[in-house]
């Protein structure tokens, strides 16, 4: 009953057998052991599972793994290059944009998409852009600052 899917994950081509009902997030966590992508809810509300699918921030619990066949995905594990933090990751570190770290991968991947679409967001635009991601630790204050930090850095 398995379905063979082939996709590019963090730059590497992967082919696996999956069940038709398997969610992309379970595929990423259980088959690829990329556990940086987290599951915080069962209603696509929290955003902890956000990854990039063909460059767009996507809640990986809203897609079946078979739907990702042929696509290119990036998870949090693929964002830093050669051990160097991506400017958004650096922004979070410099501005204490994370506490328990559980929502963080989803927040960071959402921010990647946000700054791709809008390299100079206002505070209001950042806050609206984070609407799909819950954080229970930071009150969002420092996450907003982190993304502002990253925007400045990526624009210079």
């Amino acid at each position: 009953m398995g379905h063979s899917i082939t996709l590019t994950v963090n730059g590497t081509s992967v082919t696996k057998e999956v069940e038709a009902r398997e969610l992309l997030v379970h595929f990423v966590r259980d088959h690829l052991s990329l556990t940086g992508t987290h599951i915080g809810c069962d209603t696509s509300s929290c955003g902890a599972c956000t990854i990039l699918v063909d460059g767009k921030a996507t809640k990986s619990c809203t897609m079946l793994a078979v739907q990702a066949d042929g696509s290119t995905i990036m998870t949090i594990e693929g964002l830093a290059s050669n051990g160097e933090l991506h400017p958004i990751q650096e922004g979070f570190k410099e501005n204490h944009g994370l506490q328990c770290g559980f929502c963080t991968p989803g927040m960071v991947m959402t921010a990647v998409d946000l700054l791709q679409r809008n390299p100079n967001p206002t505070e209001h635009e950042i806050r609206e852009g984070l609407e799909g991601n819950y954080c229970r630790c930071t009150g969002y204050h420092n996450i907003v600052k982190s993304i502002q930090h990253a925007a400045t850095k990526m624009n210079t």
Partner: protein, 788 residues
């Protein structure tokens, strides 16, 4: 000092930012199996029978267990705090079974555990279980639970009363003072049931190693050692030295992960039976139904004032919902963490607090960020703000008039309250002064008046709070009913090369201990932070620990570390004196070396540590090695305080509240890492504001949790909140070596009443003299209040 007081970037961040954190559900072991708990869809029902045959026969299913499979001797998970009735009787403490045998008592009560080769199969099999229920009437309101004829949650608990409790001055004295008061403000209100909602759902992995007959439990907990103790000694009867409990990276707790939950004991118990590791991870809907909830108070309170505006008395009567069972520390929350805080920052001479704790057919309640202090603060700050409106006096001035005068706990004695506490140190005017300056109070009042003239509703709300952290000392809390000590342990292990491993019994689940504690260690030992590793969360590494809750980690756990460092340096001085051919008294230690006073003769820390492990040229009679443990039991609680101010604007057409600004000036004692302290405040503010505006566990009359998902339960999102304006004053704690008080909960304690007060203020200024709006203050509730 090179690290303390500086906003050092967090050591733990790199692993979280790279997706390398290791939370319980991330752990995958060879032979792993997966458990799913079938839960009651009813709040109150008798179980006539459970048919598990089809589930057991389902391919991939390894075992199905129901309540009758659990040994009779295993009564269930225990309660760790005993409160007695006023008449001296012990509280009612019905068992909380691992799986229900006869009667389910809340939606989500566990009925069966299915273990299968994978998660989906376990869940599929759960659908094949047929439970024959007789549905019973339910009770969900903490006050209505005591009414004659109310359904009984536990058949042997009359009127659903778990205990009643009273503290303070005699009721008659308070009543007399209120009777002669120039003004009495009376308020009946609900401090609603809320759900902590750490973003990481709870998870547990049970492993039995047959070779050593040893168990390992990975669990998303705030206090691994306490879980081990409770599970071994009170639930499963396992030998404690044969059980390892690990709380790895934990994705937020806010109190909800303090407690010992049934699933932890279930996966351990079943792991030996099936001979394979078992992982259970909550789905979010399960978290809603089974994580301990918070608050749930129904209160009537009266605050009396003399003609000059001085508070003369306070009477408070509260029904506190416990939910269906007594969770680990639930009885302490409405009593010793709530009633004892009703002095607040004020000189109120007569206080009586009366609490009736009741069972309801809802999820158990326990400590949630602030635990009792938010409820106390809400009570006091709503009353004093409302009194100011009623008496037409300035709310800031009314508070100022009633503040306890400053005391440092050294030159001036700690302040003895009417409700059993002695505050450590306090200086309350400066936090109010600073907050008023930050908000621009006079200008705001002008702006508010102008807005009102234009039909716009703007309001300002104050909250000047005190709280109590680092609950202690053990002997005192023991006398108050705690069935555990409340000290902390720390081991400072100096490696031969001078690198330092610190094992702390505190547990970090977002607080940044790996950084803050390393700052303390590096400064106190005069070594670089890179040479310090903080280890926590594993009972096989850390000798003992009481965990993290009640904003205790630095005040209690940090103090234990300091004690061990003192022992290290004392021994180091003996070795250094030997090497320098001097005596320890003639040495001074600074910047990582011992120097003979008044000379340039010195020896470095690393040389001394190496000598301790290669003791060739060594003081006679001194043991080799450099490794010290300490237990620190504080002399008292610590008492942070602060002033929070909210500014809101209300849309008169819709009743929607827009939180425009939030100012928080907190005094948490000395600060090790201001960046982390600010972050703790921010997060607390969001949760406190969330309670005021968005959050409530909503039950219908049948006991159904009708908003048990993130689709329905509203928590603040990024665009619901403003950027916060925070600052602090510093009044050191006089009784711990770091002078710290605790910052984890302050934001959540002070903020809720500030927001509600701001809404009430806006309505009064707009001509709607409303005393109360039930939280959360949804547009519908605010709009309705405005219709008169």
């Amino acid at each position: 000092m090179t690290y303390i007081g500086k906003p050092i970037k967090r050591i733990e961040d790199d692993r979280f930012l790279k997706g390398l954190g290791k939370y319980t559900d991330d752990i995958k072991l060879p032979g792993m199996t997966y458990a799913y708990i079938l839960r009651s869809p009813y709040a109150h029902a008798k179980i006539n029978g459970i048919d598990i045959a089809a589930a057991k026969a389902h391919p991939g299913v390894l075992a199905v267990y129901v309540g009758s499979d659990i040994p009779e001797a295993v009564a269930g998970v225990p309660c760790g705090w005993q409160v007695n009735f006023k008449n001296g009787d012990i509280m009612k403490e019905p068992p909380h079974p691992l799986l229900v045998r006869t009667k389910v008592r809340h939606v989500g009560d566990g009925v069966a555990m299915i273990i299968a080769e994978d998660r989906a199969t376990a869940k599929d099999a759960a659908d094949l279980i047929d439970v024959d229920y007789d549905v019973l009437d339910a009770v969900v309101d903490p006050q209505k639970a005591t009414a004659a004829g109310a359904p009984l949650v536990h058949d042997d608990v009359p009127n659903n009363i778990a205990f009643d409790w009273e503290l303070g001055n005699p009721k008659e004295e308070v009543a007399a003072a209120l009777a002669s008061a120039a003004h009495v403000t009376e308020l009946s209100f609900v401090n609603q049931k809320v759900i902590p909602n750490a973003i990481e759902p709870r998870a547990a992995i049970g492993i039995h190693d047959a070779a050593y007959d040893k168990y390992t439990l990975y669990t998303s907990t705030q206090n691994p050692h306490l879980i081990r103790l409770l599970m071994c000694a009170f639930v499963l009867g396992l030998p404690e030295h044969k059980v390892r409990v690990v709380g790895p990276d934990v994705g937020g707790g806010f109190g909800s992960k303090i407690f010992h939950y049934t699933e932890e004991a279930l996966v351990i118990w079943a792991s030996k039976k099936i001979g394979r590791p078992i992982k259970w991870t909550a789905e979010r809907s399960e978290s809603f139904m089974t994580d301990a909830h918070g608050r749930d108070h129904v209160t009537t309170a009266k605050m009396g004032f003399d003609a000059d505006g001085k508070i003369v008395a306070l009477q408070s009567n509260t029904y506190a919902g416990m939910g269906a069972y007594l969770s680990s520390f639930a009885p302490a929350v409405p009593t010793y963490l709530h009633g004892t805080l009703l002095q607040g920052l004020y000189t109120t001479p007569k206080i009586n607090v009366d609490v009736t704790a009741t069972f309801t057919n809802t999820t158990a309640v326990d400590a949630y960020r602030g635990a009792g202090r938010p409820e106390a603060t809400y009570l006091l700050e709503r009353l004093i703000d409302l009194a100011a409106l009623e008496m037409k006096v300035d709310p800031a001035a009314l508070r100022r008039k009633n503040f306890i005068p400053a005391f440092d706990g050294v030159e001036q004695e700690g302040y003895v309250t009417q409700v059993a506490l002695q505050y450590d140190s306090g200086n309350y005017h400066p936090v109010l002064d600073k907050a008023l300056e930050m908000v621009g109070y006079e200008d705001f009042r002008k702006e508010q008046a102008a807005a009102a003239a234009n039909g716009k509703l703007m309001g300002i709300g104050f909250s000047t709070y005190i709280e109590a952290c680092g609950i202690a000392p053990s002997a005192v809390v023991g006398a108050l009913g705690a069935r555990a000590g409340l000290f902390e342990s720390a081991q400072v292990q100096v490696q031969p090369t001078g690198k330092v491993t610190v094992y702390t019994g505190s547990h970090s689940h977002g607080q940044g201990h790996e950084t803050t504690f390393a700052q303390v260690v590096a400064d106190k030992m005069g070594i670089p932070m890179e040479d310090v590793e903080i280890v926590h969360g594993d009972s096989d590494s850390v000798a003992f620990g009481m965990g993290t809750y009640g904003s205790r980690s630095l005040a209690v756990g940090g103090s234990a570390i300091v004690k061990s460092i003192e022992k290290v340096l004392e021994k180091g001085a003996k070795i250094a004196a030997h090497l320098l051919e001097s005596s320890p008294e003639d040495l001074e230690y600074a910047e990582g070396k011992w120097t003979v006073k008044g000379t340039d003769k010195s020896v470095a820390f690393g040389d001394v540590s190496l000598t301790a492990y290669v003791p060739h040229n060594y003081p006679e009679g001194l043991e080799p090695g450099m490794d010290f443990s300490s237990f620190y039991d504080p002399a008292n609680f610590t008492y942070p305080f602060g002033c929070h101010i909210a500014i809101v604007e209300i849309d008169p057409e819709t009743g929607k509240v827009d939180l425009k600004r939030f100012i928080a000036v907190d005094d948490v004692g000395n600060v090790i890492n201001p960046m982390i302290v600010d972050g703790q405040i921010h997060g607390g503010l969001a949760q406190g504001i969330g309670q005021a505006l968005f959050e409530e566990a909503m039950y219908d009359e049948t006991g159904q949790l009708i908003n048990g998902s993130y689709m329905d339960y509203t928590m603040p999102r990024a665009d619901d909140l403003p950027s916060f304006e925070v600052d602090r004053t510093v009044t050191p704690c006089p009784h711990n070596p770091l002078g710290v008080k605790g910052a984890g909960e302050a934001g959540c304690i002070g903020s809720t009443p500030a927001v509600v007060n701001a809404v009430i203020d806006a309505l009064w200024k707009g001509g709607h003299e409303v005393k109360d709006i039930r939280m959360p203050m949804t547009p519908e509730r605010v709009w309705t209040a405005m219709q008169g």
